[in-house]
Amino acid sequence: AAGEEKVLTIGVDQEAVGLDPHIVTSFSSHRRVDLLYNKLVRHDENLKIVPDLAESWEIPDNQTYIFNLRKGVKFHDGTEMTAKDVEFSLNRVLDPKTASPGRSYISTIKSIEVLGTYKVKVVLSAPLASFLEGLASNNCAIVSKAAVEKYGNLQKVAVGTGAFMLKEWIPDNSMTLVKNPEYFEKGLPYLDKIIFRVIPEQASLLAGIKAGTLDMAQINDASTVLLAKRDTSIAVMQKPGINVRTFGFNTTRKPFDDVRVRQALSLAIDRNEIVTVAEFGMAQPTGPIPAGATQWALPLNKLPNFTPDYAKAKALLAEAGFPNGFTFKIVTANSFEGGLSVAQVVQNQLKKIGVNAELEVVEWGMYIDRWVKRDFDSMVELRGGSGEPDRFLYRTIHSTGGVNNFLFKDADVDRLLDKGRVLTSYAERKPVYDELQIVLAQKAPIIFLYCPFETHVMTKQVKGFKQVGYGSLYYLIQTQK
């Protein structure tokens, strides 16, 4: 009814570490930033880049981007957002002292030029196809120059352009956001108030929604989701996320330096079974590009070595000199990211081709240590993915990639990645990445398994929310209750 305050209470399992969009890394912080700040461009629900603070943009050559800003956008403190703030924000991200994780996304920026109050030109030192993707990151949000100068950093305050404003923050308990009446999209948001409640346990989040003390929560734990699905009084919203569960090899170690061995292993993996057992069916098998990025990802039946074929796998093994299989170790950890269940299923599946996988279940800190030191035969991971193939695959699998801890080096792959990076139009890039996906499936340095669903559970009254694929709460702007 009109006049009544519309409050949405959302349960989160972790407290925000801070609110400065350029600094934060934690998932929980990003979820607040989603609502408090805007970027030049953003993702829509299909992970496509769409305008946000930039009304439009031009790409005269593959190293130059010119943004036309929205007019009349106000920061929460009432000042207007201008090209100066954009320049300041990007420079702040680039400044090593800020230690922004966003820096690596846009480090190719050579210069930023304010062309007018509402126009900015950015020149890159090298072509980077995923540049816009980088700008769509919360870490490249536009902040108020004045506010930064006033507060030093923005960890505890929020002076953004977002649809909601920070009202109250009681650490480890709750955070209250209220509607920004000056929000630039007229009529939005519908909600008057959003309250974040920190409830660490997944089961309690569900309990809260059942009890009506919460309106909505993101739930990662598959069994809890399963329970939620049984309850007809609540709504469960699911969609493949952009994170990718992988089973990767240290390709410098024997026998994984032999592509036939990797292919054989890939042929022995049944992704559907893994999804059924380890994720209770709540994930989507994927290839090298997260299945949710529909504009890029190839269907799995187009990818070689993705359909189990044990005879062929055994033949490949024999060819590689392991007619009786071999023994190796899978590093895994007893946490969601560590994928213990997945490792157990993989171990079980590999028995079919006579390969004996031993699990090295290590504690999370040790797991990271092994990851950093690249000390593993193979490892089950949950990789932070991206809807943008350059962003995800370049760092993951290019021989110079920052997180290529598979130590994979392949001329074809490098060539394709480099090629995809300098092109700017979708039409030009698409065939390159199609080929890359097939090459990667062929060479199998990593066995891409599945993308876990992103799941939001909510009461039936909550309407209009859309999932993006990485947990973003952006669409709360359009949500009604």
Binding site: V277, A333, N334, L340, E360, V361, E363, M366
Partner: protein, 276 residues
Amino acid sequence: MSRLLKNPIALVGLIIILLYVLITAVSQFWLPFDPLQMDVAHIMEPPSFKTGHLFGTDEFGRDILTRIMKGAGVSLLIAISATLIGATIGTFMGVWAGFLGGAWDHWIMRLADVLFSFPSLLLAIFVMAILGEKTYNVIIAISIVYIPQFARVSRGAVLAIKNNEFVRAAFSSGADRRFVLSRHLLPNIMMPVIVQSSLSLSVAILLESALSFLGLGVQPPNPSWGNMLSGARKVMLLAPWTALYPGLAIMGLVLGFNLLGDGLRDILDPRLRNIK
């Protein structure tokens, strides 16, 4: 031994323990199912005679009864080895401290005090984090928890015996400390140490399962009762039997050791013994 058999509590405890030992022995040769083999078609099936899964199946479709049987050996191995190691080192320390007295005593017991003020589970977690999750590290972690406990018990026992006149008699016949230690003190503190051991065995089972429950103990897919429960946690509300039976298995064995320990304590209690 005959006194042990006359004590109903100890006897029941002993029978329970022997039962578990028997199960462990059987599990070496025969198991109803393969404890590691997953069966995707039969995930989380409730207990049933028809399917042969008497205790149901877990989230990977593995037979729970089989895994419990397989886990019995691990639990027994860990409990027994950890207690043995902890008892040996702790008793040595305690005897050393109690016998030598003075500064040795002071510092050894201070160290024990310090270790004591760590909650035992936390201490075990620390050790596991340092050593890494290996079955033998679980043994080490638990024995480290036990060292101060045994040190205390044995020190107390030594102090009680040290001033007995037979110790003086041995010295006055020309015995040296080593002789007195090995001939008089050690044999005489064995009983309290044994009682403590049987109670420690029970706590070791609980500690192992708590560690595995927290993901720091025995590594999956090898079954231990603790990691079975840990795995069951995710699906507990969907399939309660996955949590029920491993827990009952733990409880049974722990109860066995507790009964034995309590019974032994009775047997050793001079109040109950001296009635002629």
